[in-house]
Amino acid sequence: MIEMKKELPLVFDSFADARKNGFLAVKKIKDSGKGVVGQFCTYTPLEIFMAAGLVSVSLCSTSDETIPDAEKDLPGNLCPLIKSSYGFAVTDKCPYMYFADLVVGETTCDGKVKMYELLAKKKNLHILQLPRNQFTPESKALWRSEIVRLKERVEKDFGVTITDDMLRDAIHKRNEERRLLKELYELSTLCPPPITGLRQLQILFGSQFKFDWKEKTEEIQNAINQIKSGYDAGERPVSIDAPRILITGCPMGGVTEKVVKVIEEAGGVVVAYENCTGAKQMDRQCLEEGDPITNIADHYLQIGCSIMTPNPSRFELLGRLCEQFKVNGVVEMTLQACHTYAVESHTVKKFLEERNIPYLQLETDYGTADIGQLSTRAGAFVEML
């Protein structure tokens, strides 16, 4: 069993109040005796941690603050998400990274895989061997065995036993959470949508940082009720004429909100997110009957990330969302040096061309220097719709 970290970092006193509060909030969880698991990716089966009574939190960073520190070890021409996340780990500036007793990563993209090797020197790390094919019996068997191995690692590190019933309960709870978040983002199928794309993103992103399941689901339900009653009372925060945009591509949140802002400032509205912050993780329910480990494995393996080859799940979801949300145009956000999404953008472009849906690819990073260029591109795109 590992020893859980409960002390504040040495640099704590130098932090601004907001960051100090973040640290104190996680410390409170730790002081209550709960272990914290950090994950990077939508492929991580959170049910395992939930079943073990652990708190899990996303470690994908969204700010350029720690990139200079990361670049002491990592190359400059690397995805900002990878650099920033690693940077927070080496500087002790992120409470979640700092307090994570176990960090779980997957063999997704090459940049992350090699970054994890360096991160392992700093954190207690577990790597899941994720296959790049979702359909062969061998891939499925490998992934199932990896879920078992993760369960055993969690049991050993935290000194707990995870039973099938605990897993079934966790699957049920996570399904409820997915269903609610899906209900929330599907409100934007209305014309005009009842919320801006920025608000939708902030709710989806923010839900990753709520640690009490009951509170979290109640909050989402309240948000849904509030939005619905506002709309019924005639509130129209979005113009009926605003072109309806779907965003696809790399995960979003934090500084990359700039992409949503430039689209909405130009008069468009983002109605759906086909990415890991949005529909990719909420769209489907995990099977509840039968062997929970197999259900979890099958559920997560079907996520349509560009690291899969081929990647039909993404296109099935993308096509379906475009119809469901009556989309006028698709904007793909790729982070600098994200090779898999950048290369797959060609396939996305062709896929949308066949459906007569205009498409714009925007490459960006975690800086703000490109706001002018982004707003010209997004503005012209909205004007042409």
Partner: protein, 251 residues
């Protein structure tokens, strides 16, 4: 009486203005943008008014280009891509492809009836832009205006660097290795056009093609574009005003 409109295209290098009445261009004006785009735009606007003896209140103004945000006397702000499409269709009816080489952006726009179908712009990089050409000219001791004099049929050497900063040091090495300025100038033009062709490849080029932007009058660029696209490339005497014309038409 038909409305008089003004379009101001405030780019990174030059601020262009056009005054249009009944679909005819009555006045044009261009000034270096300088450090204060807002003030420069105002000066360009005043000059258009003086040239045509028009009063400000009779006019609707639309602004485009990077400086558009700061132009407070504009009734409308439109991106330069939409404006270029409509301005280019005015200059060359039925135009299908616009190649615009500007100060900090180069772009290729696919159009039909003056409407944008799709577009590609250079990424966060100066290669393939007017700024790159200007920097390279200075490295060889000439102003951008004198640069075309160096261009000589058949004289070129190849520049391998796609990055403006690396190309700059490559030019230094080429000069040191005894290459002539004429050869290097040919290489620079080729490099700018190659970068633009990468954008064109993503959009697809259909004839007729119109070249716009501040470098449109540089014959060497037009010829190299014709060579690399294999299609005739048109230029209008008002090519650099395409964005401003589009803005005026949409004001």
């Amino acid at each position: 009486m038909k409305q008089i409109t003004v379009g101001i295209d405030c780019g990174s290098a030059a601020c262009k203005g056009v005054l249009i009445k009944e679909d005819s261009i009555l006045a044009v004006c261009v000034k270096p943008t300088g450090w204060n785009p807002k003030e420069t735009a105002r000066t360009v606007f005043q000059e258009l008014l003086e040239q045509t003896e028009t009063a400000e209140h009779e006019i609707r103004v639309a602004a485009t280009g990077y400086g558009r945000v700061g132009i407070d006397f504009a009734h409308k702000k439109i991106t330069e891509i939409t404006c270029h499409a409509s301005g280019a269709d005015y200059l060359l009816k039925g135009v299908r492809t616009i190649i615009d080489i500007g100060g900090q952006d180069s772009k290729v726009i696919s159009v039909e009836n003056g409407k944008v179908l799709s577009f590609q712009m250079n990424d966060k990089c100066a290669a393939g832009t007017g700024r790159f050409l200007e920097m390279s000219a200075h490295r060889m001791g000439v102003d951008l205006s004198d640069f075309p004099k160096l261009l000589t049929e058949g004289k070129r050497c190849s520049l391998s660097s796609m990055c403006a900063v690396f190309a700059d040091s490559e030019i230094v090495s080429l000069l040191a290795a005894g290459k002539t300025r004429e050869e290097i100038a040919g290489g620079i033009i080729q490099s700018v056009v190659t970068k633009v062709m990468a954008l064109a490849g993503r959009v697809g080029t259909e004839s007729p093609i119109l070249l716009t932007g501040g470098l449109a009058q540089m014959e060497g660029i037009r010829k190299e574009l014709e060579f690399q696209t294999g299609c005739p490339v048109n230029v209008s005497q008002f090519s650099r005003y395409a964005g401003a014309i589009g803005a005026a038409l949409k004001a």
